[in-house]
Amino acid sequence: MNRQAHQLFNRLRLLALLTITTVFHFACTTSLGQAAPPRTTSTTAIRVADAERNIATAYFEVVDGATKQQVLKAPAGESKQSAGIEMQCRVKPAATSAQVLWSTQIRNAGSGQRRLTLRWSVECRMNPGYDYWRGRDEPVSGEWLAFIPPGGANNTLPLQTLYGATSGYALAMDPMEIFSGLKQWQESVAAASPNAGSPNTRMTLEIPLVLDAGQQDSFEFALYSYTPRYGYLDAVQIYHDLYPKSFTPRTDIDPRSTGNGAMYLVWTENDFEAARRFGGDWEWVYAPFRRTGDIYGRAQFYDYTPARPFYDALYKLPFAEFHKERKVKLARGLESNTAMMFYVPSYIWAEERLALEKYPGAIVRNPDGGFAGHFTTPWVTGHDNEVLMYPWGNSYAEQTKEDLRQLVRDDLNIQGFAYDVLAGNSRHRADGVAQSPRRGFDETGVYADTAVAIAKMMDFTRDLERDGHKLAIVANPTGGTCRSFLAARTDNNMTEFAPYQWQDQLLSLRLMMGHKPLCWWDVWNLSDLMQWQKMTPAEIREAYLGARDYVLLASFRYGGVPAPWLTRGTPRLLRWLPTIRRVVRAGWQAVPAVRNLPDSVWAGRYGRGIGSFITLGNAGGNSFKGTIQIENSYLGAGNYIFASPDGSKLVQRIVGSITEVDVEIAPKSPLVLQAIAESPQKARGAATVTWRFDGAAGELTIDTKVPVRNVIAPAEECAPPRPLRKNVWSITSANFASPVSAIQSFPFFGGKETATIVLPAQPNADEEWAARRLQEYFRFWGKQATPGAKPIDLTVVRGTIGGAAASAAPRVHIGRAAPVLQQRERVMRQREVYLSPNDSRQLVVTGQTPRDVREAMWRLMQQLDLKYVYPGGFASHGRTPNEAAALTKAGISGKILDESWIPPEVVADAKAARPDQP
């Protein structure tokens, strides 16, 4: 066949494929919609074509687990019945012709239980030198392919891909699909014909499944082709976008749940202002029960003799006092504005005596009858001995579910649950297995993995509601042991390591979480990575500074937010923290979509379309100056124009579907660009973007001849920009009506009198809260920010101030104390924080609703943080004693690591504010 004939043949083949796939879609849907009895049906295959019009075909195979004989094998799109097993397929609508989404339904039509091995495979033709990526780690090719372990896919994404230079195929299972075991592999297959398009490679996904007589199950799959411009990451990007329920933060949970962890600053240390400054959006409430396995704290289980004495004051309390005190401690979240995540050890651990006496069948045991997990040393509570449990389909699970319901029903301040040890990987064979989905089997018999039970409990938890929100799940899945379907059910990843540790797990974990946030929840722990004993104190300090810079750039690269123990004492990280949080919230994307970068510049991308962020981190020791190329097709449907983070001039050109941007990035520094305007796909031309903003108002200039639409403000929380003149838009804050610098200059203290906080005569709880927090703000800063300083006390009054005091003291009017001012200053009414235009000694913090008042005060304090800097003290300990020794040797234990990052004017202001201090 000559070249032209071959091309024609391929075109016809593609046309035929698209036609029969469409016909088949109706056939399958109709069949299942009528609930017709399955029978062998001749239908078509699940197929996709790649850019070179090669075809990849999906198959489904069932092997009998007892006999190891094949029960059936057919193109994945067929309905078929064989040896008592029925298979059906339902094709679902897909976004493009390069994707096929389908569900495989399998039913045991026989009279006895069946142990089955299910295999989905894709056969395609790959040219020599292709790469294979098996859901984690690095892709492999060539002779290395022979050495990929055939199993061991439990802790990978259920996604695998074969790809060459210009095209690739991916076989993916819905990330929410639960399994007791998973294998993925690729292999060569004998070509069915010498035709150039004949398959020569196969990738397979395998799951064990036990079905009782009459039982059926179904699995959701996707097969797609793609162009691997960024290698396997293109397959991952499509996967993340195909399954938003798994990979995008839920919008019906408390939004703080996807922010930064408080690292016990609220639950244990009761330090609300430190939590606010270092990032206390949510708290890991560890461990709010006395007896492991009794998370509610039932009267009938409460009094017992622990293996070791109760050490915590909470645990020592009698029953009624325990509940009272726990409620009080949880209510700390109300004061600190922190979402409280009630800790559970994924329900897989229970106190030994409780488990043996009440739930013996739920204990996970080895085939020899021994405990599969048994701690006789301090673990969950510290005072209990604990055994491994299976929390689904048994009395233990029912009690735990009732505990969860009651915790949410009770008047406890809980916004979600903190799932610890989120992994599974233990096989349970007793109570609850028969009631569990996705049972597996091995030489010992039928089992269900503990991950199955955890997933079901997570589903139960995710459906609970309180205060108009679903309960959130913050969890600590790792990249090494976690099942991907557990990460898919996690709203925020409490990542128990700094991003320079466990590198082999970091990217795997990142990909499992999709667009959802990570939180670097650990101390520095550098001493085991360096020869600190041989290093000079200056070198050790330099090493911590280097790690700090890495954490900064890695946060933008991998979409993680550093928790308080990494930001304390590091003004540079603290300064970047708001930007990191804002960017990470937009949603990490697998494909960075930026080209023309040296290895030393790391790219990241967040969000989609207008508002997307492109992050660049220059790890090198010299400034990077160059032109980067942003591939707009990954961002959205148009071409995009970008703004710099500080308003400085950003020169760019739209060329084809690419925006070329001239950038300069300082060494060891990030640069965050935001897509602030869109232009049509066919638009071409240059654009120069500048903007200025004083916190209340400003201007955005897009100097270009390119048609521009959908313009947004480059600053956070602004109203939609309004056109002022050609290429110029006005920017207006949604919250502040006075410039931030003016608000920061408000004389809270330092004059003849400290400011008075004015509340309405009968303030509501939110107004009271706002007043207390502002008081606490200055007490804290006054006491903490400068050694030896004293608290600054602002007075709170209710109602109006009469007499001479009415005009003498600066005043902060909160909530409904403001309307009198608002009547006169109508221009301010729509915004929440402003200085009176007639009297800059009158500051208003208000809102349309009580909740708005709280949020207005929160925003005010965040702006004040830029002036009233409090970096806190650097780490003084680590996981080993070596860390403390290294920190001490370097002279940085509890000190400020990088004082030079505190702006000089802030230092000067702080000294001027308290001239009596040294």
Partner: protein, 219 residues
């Protein structure tokens, strides 16, 4: 556990002074045969060229590839590729030593990624010739080279038990693609036959070795 599979035949009897560090001023003749891999055993296909006087051993030899390649400034070197990390594999050579004598071994090594091990042992009941020098590649070190100097890094020896029981257990890191010379001192007990092993330690990667030497340290 894996490292103990390898050294299970090494019996614990006594301890003695030994150390890894810079070479001494005076040294005896090199006791290693074909130390630079210049002599090649030519039997078999050209693709299976082996260095004379050296032999390769592994429980899973199929995961290893061997080449003798020329490197600038080195002449021939042995290149070992581990395609998988499920097993270790080593080029070995026995070396005759004098009892109660201080020696030094040296070797030039290079690796792209993974973990390299040079170790020595004797077959007798004397653990004195046991040295264990593991080198971790800095190829994927998150902090090197941009944020840390390579010399700050450490490779903690994977088994504290090993470090506890044997006199010369040392860890190091190495920049990928750069030659590095390892040096190790030890003092023999009663044993006189030591086996020196150079290889890949349960990690996929490519490893190069050259200029292997065992010298007596002269007073």
């Amino acid at each position: 556990m894996r490292q103990f599979c390898i050294c299970a035949h090494i019996l614990v009897v006594a301890s003695l002074v030994a150390a890894c560090g810079p070479a001494s001023a005076a040294e005896g003749p090199n006791l290693v045969t074909n130390p630079g891999f210049e002599a090649v055993a030519t039997s078999g296909p050209a693709t299976e060229k082996k260095p004379a006087a050296w032999s390769f051993g592994s429980a899973n030899p199929e995961i290893f590839r061997h080449e003798i390649v020329a490197e600038p400034g080195h002449g021939n070197v042995i290149k070992l590729t581990a395609l998988d990390g499920k097993m270790s594999g080593y080029w070995t050579q026995p070396v005759q030593l004098k009892p109660k004598t201080t020696y030094e071994w040296k070797a030039d090594i290079k690796l792209d990624r993974g973990k390299l091990l040079i170790y020595s042992y004797c077959d007798g009941k004397d653990k004195s010739t046991f040295t264990w020098y593991v080198v971790q590649s800095l190829a994927r070190h998150p902090l090197v080279p941009y944020f840390w100097k390579p010399e700050w890094t450490t490779e903690s020896v994977s088994s504290p038990q090993l470090a506890k029981e044997f006199p010369v257990v040392h860890g190091a890191t190495s920049e990928p693609g750069k030659w590095k010379t390892l040096t190790c001192h030890f003092t023999t007990g009663e044993a006189t036959t030591m086996t020196l092993l150079l290889g890949a330690y349960f990690a996929p990667g490519t490893y190069w070795f050259d200029n292997v030497a065992v010298h007596e340290v002269l007073p």
